[in-house]
């Protein structure tokens, strides 16, 4: 079966609730068949609205949404055949687990034997066999969550939407559920559109991530590229930790530029700057800066330790560097670790390719 690269297509979609503010602006997004795509963004960025438009609970103000080549803007939710997992699970509290799972099959007039088989299969997928006759209130949060996932998958929908499904779970459970959902997706190959504001969740689970802000997709790429190569300062800020320097480009060639800060100059990788005199924000991941680098690096400075915080697997060091006291370093903890002390002076270095000169904040 050949995969359709435009299985779900948002075509120039706008959405406004009050006629004054656009919550989704000119959205252009293609989702391939069998893909796990995450819409990531802060609250109010329009990601949930996009999901609701795809599910059919909101109508686009302008533009079209296509599912497998068909325009679905005028199809009511119950005819779209899209499974959905809600933020608070939305299990029917008056029905048993079995009845919850059987609901989408019963409304489709599936035979009783077939229902039993499918419910059984869906429950074994989330390893909840034997829970058929429980009421949702008798289940733990994680179990309810898994029932909700099973219910969204039991009728073999083409697309499954998940609206921050793990938001209510505690950290450990959330992490194990992330892997579980990822594995379910890999084993049955359904297209998943996942909405979250938790970046680590997005990085763990997705094939591709669409970072939303202000009603627009800021960057759409796979997790590694998103983290390593953010295209603008919002994405750099939003995904992972980030050291920033605001300055002005004073010299630029093909793969290097010189950025003038308040009282020094650094070399950076020009991503969204083109000419001299432009304002820019340089972004550098904390783990890309090294202490006392042995290799030759093209950015070498000396900073003063302001704060040392022990984090178990690593130590966070806050430095006063280049006039800013917010420079963060992540140092892996090992037996050969350096003695880091407050108000000590240390040498820091990084490569200009890792320092990305992006649009000014």
């Amino acid at each position: 079966m050949s995969k359709n690269p435009e299985f779900v297509k948002f075509d120039k979609v706008d959405k406004s609730y009050d006629g004054k503010v656009l919550v989704v602006k000119d959205l252009q997004l293609d989702i391939a068949e069998g893909e796990f795509i995450t819409m990531l963004g802060p609250s109010g960025s329009g990601k949930t609205t996009c999901l609701m438009m795809l599910a059919g609970f909101e109508t686009p103000t302008n533009g079209e949404i296509l599912l497998d080549g068909n325009i679905i803007s005028n199809i009511p939710p119950h005819k779209r055949g899209i499974g959905m997992v809600f933020q608070n699970y939305a299990l029917f509290p008056h029905m048993t687990v079995y009845e919850n799972l059987a609901f989408p099959l019963r409304v489709r007039k599936v035979e009783k034997d077939e229902i039993d088989k499918k419910v059984d299969k869906a429950l074994s997928m989330v390893s909840l066999n034997g829970f058929e006759s429980r009421m949702p209130a008798q289940l733990s949060g994680g179990q309810q969550q898994r029932v909700a996932v099973a219910r969204a998958l039991v009728f073999d929908p083409a697309v499954v939407l998940m609206d921050e499904p793990l938001g209510a779970l505690d950290k450990n459970l959330r992490e194990s559920m992330q892997y579980e959902i990822k594995h379910i997706h890999e084993s049955i190959g359904v297209t998943v559109v996942y909405v979250t504001h938790d970046q680590s969740e997005a990085l763990t689970m997705s094939n591709r991530i669409a970072v939303f802000n202000d009603g627009k997709v800021q960057q759409l790429s796979d997790p590694a590229e998103l983290y390593e190569k953010p295209v603008n300062s919002f994405v750099a800020e939003f995904i992972g930790e980030n050291n920033t320097f605001n300055g002005e480009v004073v010299d630029i060639d093909k793969d290097k530029c010189k950025v003038k800060l308040a009282n020094s100059e650094i070399l950076a990788n020009p991503i969204s700057v083109n000419s001299k005199g432009e304002k820019t924000t340089v972004s550098l991941r904390p783990e890309r800066a090294l202490i006392n680098p042995t290799d030759k690096m093209d950015n070498m400075f000396t900073g003063k330790i302001e704060e040392v915080i022990y984090h178990g697997d690593h130590t966070r060091v806050r430095l006063n560097l280049l006039g800013s006291s917010e420079f963060i370093l992540k140092v892996p903890n090992s037996t050969s670790n350096l003695e880091l002390k407050v108000s000590q002076d240390i040498n820091i270095g990084w490569n200009s390719t890792d320092a990305r000169a992006l649009d000014p904040k």
Partner: protein, 420 residues
């Protein structure tokens, strides 16, 4: 393991249970003191009056106290033939005592209710006693029979014997259009005099339909209230509650102004040409008026419990129902509606119970068909002064409500009720 080692001790060596009880005792006393005023209030205004009503409704001690000697002698009488001399003597001396206390008239009236003709029969005995014509040294039985031949009839003595027990269910039977026949069995009154049964059925019918109308109108309102944005739902809530802030009589009177034949609604119908001016429909002084007015007045009692239940139902449940493939109707019927049943139960129970005891509104707008069982109770309280009958009917109404409550509990479960 012995039971002693199982017992958990606190660090001071006191058993944990004892220590816990001691710690909680103070809280329990506090809690009790807080509810004590309400408890006292309920006992004084509720438990005590109902007990009083009950004892009044079955009380029949008047004759028992008036004729102590008679009933004592009657204990050995089999009630089949004319009683022996001792019973006659007992009645004579009892009656004589009543004549001295001037209470003989009451006895005559009361006995006349049991058996027609008793009034004149006792009056003649009274005159003979006044004129001292009875010779107490010879047989009193023969002299009494000479005074009035009715004393020679066994039915009259049977009637007296029937009034002997200090308690009677006669009032309850009367409330169901039944009575004790002379032979002591329960009999039905003539068909054309069965007024109470009609009233009971009418009361149930009106309560049922008012509940139904309240439900049909209240459900969508409550749903709208629960789903509208705050600023609109507040306004709507005020509209729902507005009737609460107006006196019952004012509301009923305004319905009279609206519904009467020359009233506003009829004028409007004539104006838009729906009905001719000379054939205005009667919308008042019949059941239509009762239904309209009572539904409006009781509507908030349906809306509020429904609203409080619907408010707790997450809108994502309906969405889930739809996204799983249910049409909007299926999602509503299979998901939303079952979750509102506790509210429906509470609302219907409230409205039905209130409607079953309603009385001013149906009396004012219902005309001849507006007489319900509560009007009958009020009538006997105020007009005939038959308080024991009024009490009996009141208690029958109360037990009816309790039966409904019981059925409801079996069907829905009282634990599921949500009143707010």
């Amino acid at each position: 393991m012995s039971s002693e080692t199982k017992q958990i001790l606190t660090t001071d060596g006191i058993p944990l249970e004892v220590s816990l009880k001691k710690a909680e005792k103070k809280n329990k006393i506090k809690a009790f003191l807080l509810v004590a005023p309400l408890l006292l209030f309920l006992v004084i205004t509720y438990v005590f009056p109902i007990g009083e009503m009950f004892s009044r409704s079955i009380d029949d001690k008047m004759i028992t106290n008036m004729l102590p000697k008679t009933f004592k002698e009657m204990e050995t009488w089999d009630g089949k033939e004319l009683p022996p001399e001792e019973v006659f003597a007992g009645f004579y001396y009892d009656y004589k005592a009543l004549v001295e206390k001037q209470e003989h008239g009451k006895l005559g009236q009361r006995l006349n209710k049991e058996k027609n003709g008793f009034n004149s029969t006792t009056k003649r005995l009274f005159r003979n006693i006044k004129r001292k014509k009875i010779d107490e040294s010879v047989s009193i039985k023969e002299q009494m029979i000479k005074v009035h031949p009715n004393w020679n009839k066994v039915e009259y003595w049977q009637a007296i014997k029937r009034t002997a027990p200090p308690y009677t269910l006669a009032k309850y039977l009367k409330g169901m259009d039944m009575y004790y026949a002379p032979d002591g069995s329960v009999a039905q009154v003539d068909e054309d005099r069965r007024i109470h049964r009609i009233l009971w059925l009418r009361t149930l019918e009106i309560a049922f339909f008012v509940t139904l109308f309240c439900f049909l109108m209240g459900y969508p309102i409550a749903h709208l209230l629960a789903t509208l944005p705050m600023k609109y739902s507040n306004l709507l809530m005020i509209c729902v509650l507005l009737p609460f802030w107006t006196s019952l009589l004012v509301r009923t009177a305004s319905w009279m102004i609206l519904l009467q034949q020359q009233g506003i609604v009829n004028d409007f119908f004539v104006m838009i040409g729906l009905v001719a001016d000379d054939s205005r429909p009667e919308m008042m002084y019949n059941k239509v008026g009762t239904y309209v007015a009572m539904t409006q007045i009781l509507l908030p009692f349906m809306v509020l419990p429904l609203y409080s239940v619907m408010k707790t139902i997450s809108p994502s449940l309906m969405r889930a129902g739809k996204s799983l493939g249910g049409t909007p109707f299926v999602a509503f019927w299979k998901v939303y509606f079952p979750l509102t049943i506790p509210g429906i139960g509470a609302g219907c129970l409230l409205v039905f119970i209130l409607a079953i005891g309603y009385y001013i509104t149906p009396a004012l707008v219902g005309g001849a068909s507006g007489t319900l069982i509560s009007n009958q109770i009020a009538f006997h309280m105020k007009q005939t002064l038959d308080w024991s009958f009024a009490s009996a009917m009141g208690l029958m109404l109360l037990s009816g409500v309790l039966v409904i409550y019981w059925i409801y509990n079996k069907l829905v479960g009282v634990d599921n009720i949500k009143l707010g």
